[in-house]
């Protein structure tokens, strides 16, 4: 195993492995401290970044942070690496890559072309050399467009997931939350429920309820019940209206086993979703969530820092052409991201890394009550992400998820972001809002919406 060294001021710092360099170079966060791999001092952090600056990108192809023989995620990354796409940056160091990404001459087409040649470890490494403004500046050049019943991710588009969760999965309560979101222009990325119970019959009933609402109002969007991939497969087999197949994914085989999944299960699900053929304008059928700290919490991080493990989780997601990928950045708790500063940084990193890898990146801009954060931090992060060109964000009524017990964005926050940036909903959805008088011009016929959602008295 190679060792590395660099100097900051007059201090010489040694690192026993590439993983140690990556961990020490990461911005401060509680999860890496919990794992005992964070930089021991601020100077050590700078020294580690100096090591990365001069490190050839090809190092990541030969020095696997998680062993190739032990881990199918590493094998997916290495075996799937596109050497031809990598060629334009193959002779660069991580520092060179940073400069190249920031160069005005490097445009979205160049970034899209190189994406299959970049590994998660490479994009994680370069993110550690970038300030928040750099993460925004580069990510905003990248457009990743995906489609199912509408197309998301185009220039000038900011979509949103409408998350109508209910503590008892009550279909009428859910319908009210769906109506609330639609009235405020949310729901083009997906109308997606986290079920309170993973019981199959319950999930089936929710899928039918969401699909009936979508059809009743002829909404050009997709629906999802976020249950385990094996449940979605079973329900597809029973003829349930499964638009998107959801799964949480992590950056190592062992962490994915903690989620009860393997890569072959994801491949099977992807094929089943394609076979169902429910998309009308596109066939991106998968929806993935990730979040820094998931590998550590499963004791499956292999001594690798949480931000790099997160990029590896994104490497899993990109193998299955997803419609949507989002980080649940503030959900996992203060032992991984302690406060608003760490959540904001991590949200920008996850968005940047995902976009560089070619993913349709969204973010659940969120926090739990035991984190040092509040809605002001969410305003900051969502405003930055809108600047960075995020594909979608998640919104719930009044920012309060009454089932999962955490705070995300509110529907009116989507309206704020659109008002202050000029961003618009997905084009098909924008036309639908127009037709229902929900884009500000005419008076909406809310009575008809209520009747069609089955909510009349």
């Amino acid at each position: 195993m190679a060792s590395y060294a660099a100097t900051a001021r007059d201090h010489r710092f040694r690192f026993d492995s590439l993983a140690a360099v990556m961990a020490a170079a990461s911005p401060e966060r509680s999860g890496d401290q919990l794992a005992g791999i964070a930089a021991g001092s601020a100077l050590e952090r700078v020294a580690a970044r100096r090591v990365l600056m001069d490190l050839p990108l090809t190092t990541f192809l030969t020095d696997a942070l998680v062993p190739y023989e032990e881990d199918e995620v590493t094998r997916l990354i290495i075996d799937g690496h596109d050497r031809a796409a990598f060629a334009p940056v193959a002779s660069m160091t991580v520092g060179d890559l940073r400069d190249w990404l920031l160069s005005p001459a490097t445009d979205g087409a160049a970034l899209a072309a190189v994406a299959p040649g970049l590994t998660p470890e490479m994009v994680a490494a370069v993110s550690k050399l970038m300030r928040n403004q750099d993460l925004i500046r580069v990510a905003r050049k990248v457009r990743v467009v995906t489609a199912f019943r509408n197309s998301i991710g185009g220039a000038g588009v900011l979509a949103s997931r409408l998350q109508p969760n209910h503590p008892a999965d009550d279909p009428r309560g859910i319908a009210v939350a769906v109506l609330d979101g639609l009235l405020q222009g949310a729901g083009d990325a997906v109308i997606g429920i986290n079920p309170a119970s993973d019981n199959l019959a319950n999930c089936h009933a929710l899928l039918v309820a969401l699909d009936e609402m979508r059809q009743a109002l002829d909404i050009p969007t997709q629906t999802c019940v976020l249950t385990h991939v094996t449940n979605a497969l079973t329900l597809l087999g029973r003829g349930a209206p499964v638009d998107l197949i959801f799964q949480s994914v992590a950056g190592s085989q062992a962490a994915n086993e903690g989620f009860g999944i393997t890569l072959s299960m994801l491949a099977e699900a992807h094929q089943a979703g394609l076979a169902a053929g429910r998309g009308t304008v596109g066939q991106n059928v998968m929806y993935f969530e990730t979040g820094q700290g998931s590998a550590l919490s499963a004791d499956a991080h292999h001594g690798v820092d949480q931000q790099t493990m997160e990029a590896r989780a994104q490497g899993v997601a990109r193998a299955y052409a997803p419609l949507l990928v989002n980080t649940v950045v503030g959900f996992i708790g203060p032992e991984y991201l302690f406060d608003g500063k760490q959540i904001i940084r991590a949200g920008l990193e996850d968005h940047f890394c995902g976009k560089l890898l070619g993913l349709p990146m969204g973010v659940d801009v969120c926090y739990t009550n035991h984190v040092e954060a509040d809605q002001d931090d969410m305003d900051t992060l969502s405003t930055l992400l809108a600047q960075a060109g995020v594909n979608f964000v998640i919104a719930v009524p009044g920012a309060d998820d009454v089932m999962l017990g955490y705070q995300s964005l509110a529907f009116e926050d989507i309206a704020y972001l659109r008002e202050t940036t000029g961003l618009t909903p997905a084009p098909e959805f924008a036309a639908w809002l127009d037709a229902f008088g929900l884009s500000g011009g005419a008076l909406p016929d809310t009575g008809a919406m209520v009747r069609r959602l089955g909510l009349s008295a």
Partner: protein, 242 residues
């Protein structure tokens, strides 16, 4: 349909719906209500259990006080591993078949409002607990109960602990039980009864009945966790938050 008709629908969900197209910025009164609810949750998380008062509430049960290795709130939040370890205590071998532990967890108000009531209801269901010492643990995570159970030689440990506060309820108590407790057990070795509070949650009496059922059934099959299914007759509980 007029606006009041739409507002009527808000009774169908506890969510903070507005049901208004182009609603604009949040109404100030709603904003302040949200801030108030978040403030209550924050205060609950950073509050301190008044252990002497709790001991008086538990009287005549004797109490033993212990601390985890997480010595202050900031450390507690950052280092869940320390909250699972006992700080150098010499706990006596109590050898209880069921050892009660009360831990602060993430909500001091939950412990102050619910713990003594649940213990009294439990004693009514499980008379063996009468007169037995209760361990009071500061800086506690759920798994600290296993360390305490192991140190005291308990056959089973039952940890009552403050749950992570939500915006609507900041004083909800959780109960976790482990058969043959020892250090290093995972969540799948425990059973949980959550949402014990007086604001639409599980009452002290209902929680005690369910826990007593789980204790008896756990003894019968010699296990807790995934092997022990809650079929105690009540409605299905939601999984614990976070």
């Amino acid at each position: 349909m007029s606006v009041p008709d739409l507002r009527r629908l808000s009774a169908l969900t506890p969510a903070r719906v507005r049901l208004q197209a182009g609603a604009g910025p949040t109404d100030l009164s709603d904003l302040l209500r949200f801030q108030q609810d978040h403030a209550a949750a924050r205060d609950a998380i950073h509050g301190q259990v008044v252990w002497d008062a709790l001991a008086r509430d538990l009287d005549p049960l004797p109490v033993l006080r212990v601390d985890s290795m997480a010595t202050d709130r900031a450390t507690y939040l950052r280092r869940p591993d320390l909250g699972r370890q006992l700080a150098g205590h010499d706990l006596p071998r109590l050898n209880a078949s069921l050892q009660l532990v009360i831990g602060d967890g993430l909500s001091a108000p939950a412990v102050m409002a619910q713990a003594a009531g649940v213990v009294r209801a439990l004693i009514a269901c499980l008379p063996e607990l009468a007169g037995r010492p209760v361990v009071l643990a500061q800086g506690a995570r759920v798994a600290l109960g296993d360390a305490i159970g192991a140190a005291t030689g308990a056959g089973m440990v039952l940890m009552l602990i403050g749950e992570r506060p939500g915006l609507s309820v900041a004083d909800s108590l959780g109960a976790y039980m482990t058969h043959a407790p020892r250090i290093g057990l995972r969540d799948n070795a425990r059973n949980c009864v959550s949402n014990i509070h007086l604001n639409g949650g599980l009452s002290h009496q209902a929680a005690a009945e369910r826990l007593a059922w789980l204790v008896m059934q756990g003894r019968r099959i010699g296990a807790t966790g995934i092997a022990l299914k809650d079929e105690s007759g009540g409605s299905d509980l939601l999984p614990p938050l976070g």
